[in-house]
């Protein structure tokens, strides 16, 4: 197999990696906000329930969670397993939404109360204060920790291979059976490129927001 053939076959895996990454973001970003609101609600039973779930999800290995989502329904209830990609995606969405919720919470709590009060005494409604005053400050606060999570997510997609999702590491491993070791290590180049682009985007966003300081 030529270098070119190997690259093409790894790119095939990279597409799945990219899909897993993009779809996880698409669903986990809003779900995280919902979990965040739950973990901050004044309704104590819900708050403790949400915080317990967040503790369980953040406190246990993502790899085990993938296995549970994929094999659990069959082992416990005799149900047909979900499609592999779907099972991996659901796990990633739940797992990352929990991390995101904590980042949101930190961001929300970092906005000084005086910002809300200043808006209030100027006659703004609560939604106006949130969208016109708080939101951009919140985004500025969460870009750096979010960047960390996004970069981790790119690499965590590799865990999907425990249920044989054909992502890029799995693509590299299948080539081992054809007697080629080096493609597995070559996959690192793709991760580095992916995260390189991501880092550039994050730096751009940070720079865009650097014109003000809270």
């Amino acid at each position: 197999m030529s270098f070119w053939d190997v690259t093409l076959s790894l790119l095939d895996g990279l597409v799945t990696t990219g899909q897993l990454f993009a779809l996880t973001l698409l669903f986990a970003l809003p779900l995280g906000l919902l979990i965040c609101l739950g973990s901050m609600t004044r309704f104590t039973p819900l708050r403790w329930l949400v915080r317990t779930v967040v503790w369980i999800i953040r406190g246990s290995p993502l790899m085990l969670q993938i296995l549970i989502v994929f094999y659990g329904p069959g082992l416990l209830f005799g149900l047909k397993p979900l499609p592999r990609f779907t099972a991996a995606l659901i796990t990633f969405v739940i797992n990352y939404a929990c991390y995101f919720s904590e980042i949101y919470r930190g961001g929300i709590q970092s906005i000084p109360r005086g910002q809300y009060e200043a808006g209030q005494v100027l006659g703004m409604s609560r939604p106006q204060v949130f969208f016109r005053v708080v939101l951009l400050q919140l985004i500025k606060q969460i870009v750096p920790p979010m960047g960390n999570e996004l970069i981790t997510l790119v690499k965590d997609t590799a865990l999907a291979r425990v249920i044989s999702v054909y992502e890029i590491i799995w693509a590299g491993e299948t080539l081992i059976k054809k007697g080629l070791i080096w493609p597995l290590f070559y996959t690192a180049v793709f991760y580095l490129a992916f995260n390189g682009i991501l880092t550039l985007l994050l730096n751009w966003a940070e720079k865009k927001l650097s014109y003000f300081h809270s």
Partner: protein, 260 residues
């Protein structure tokens, strides 16, 4: 008729009774300074007047019309509360400018949002926004910051930020402008410029309530001084009486600590 009447305001946080029945009134164009040591309840009183806190008991009237009544406060709609709150402007100790907006936008933001509620907004949008812009520019000029229109708060000194905050509060055209220790967060050399702006407002007949530790300033500009201690008004009157000839022992002690 007094422009502001505060009647029997009570406020407690948990078990601590911070305000134990505060009453006072003030006339149009008067300047009232509230003095007292930390924890005496003066900031809480100001927050109850500007309705950032809801008093547990009592009433507040502006020009004879109730703007707060503890008995009916829970029944008001948000819009009604907002309209009543707009009788008051508030300048904070920590400025609380909106960091992502420049000076001009800080002053115009609330006005622009308010204008959207006008029935003729769609028809006259351009003219309304131009009017708001002109209004804001002249207010910023009046606090001496015309050169900083496009600057962001982080590019200004504390004194300049506080002057923007004053212009921002004035933009809403409040009946009564309140200051919560407006110079406490400033370096001593920057307090003068803020106090000068407040003084100039007094000369233009703005009705103002100032919670302050600046005793010399309070004596100079106030029509009335109100001394608070442990949630009650201990002594009240013109500054030459309250500050120069105090009668209450707590006030004497307070002023003695100041002159040290």
């Amino acid at each position: 008729m007094p422009v502001l009447e505060v009647r029997d305001i009570h406020k407690r946080f948990g078990r601590t009774e911070v305000l134990k029945g505060i009453s006072f009134s003030m006339e149009q164009s008067q300047i009232l300074s509230i003095i007292g040591s930390s924890g005496s309840g003066k900031t809480t009183l100001l927050r109850c007047i500007t309705q950032l806190e809801q008093a547990d008991r009592g009433r507040i009237l502006v020009e004879g019309k109730p703007v707060f009544d503890a008995a009916e406060a829970p029944n008001l709609t948000k819009a009604e509360k907002r309209d009543r709150q707009l009788n008051f402007g508030l300048v904070f100790q920590s400025f609380n400018l909106f960091p992502q907006y420049n000076v001009l936008d800080n002053v115009t933001l609330a006005l622009r949002l308010q204008a959207k509620r006008r029935p003729d907004y769609a028809a006259k949008k351009a003219a309304i926004l131009q009017e708001i812009d002109a209004e804001a520019r002249s207010l910023i000029e009046s606090v001496g910051l015309s050169e900083k229109l496009k600057n962001y708060p982080c590019e200004l000194s504390g004194g300049q930020q506080q002057r923007v905050a004053i212009a921002r509060a004035l933009a809403m055209n409040p009946r009564i402008l309140c200051f919560d220790e407006p110079t406490s967060a400033l370096d001593p050399e920057l307090t003068g410029e803020v106090l000068a702006v407040i003084k100039a407002l007094g000369q233009r007949n703005m009705t103002m309530i100032i919670v302050t530790h600046e005793m010399a300033f309070a004596r100079e500009v106030s029509d009335q001084v109100l001394f608070m201690d442990s949630g009650v008004v201990c002594e009240q009157g013109p500054p030459d009486q309250v500050i120069d000839h105090p009668t209450h022992p707590r006030l004497r002690e307070f002023l003695r600590n100041f002159s040290k």
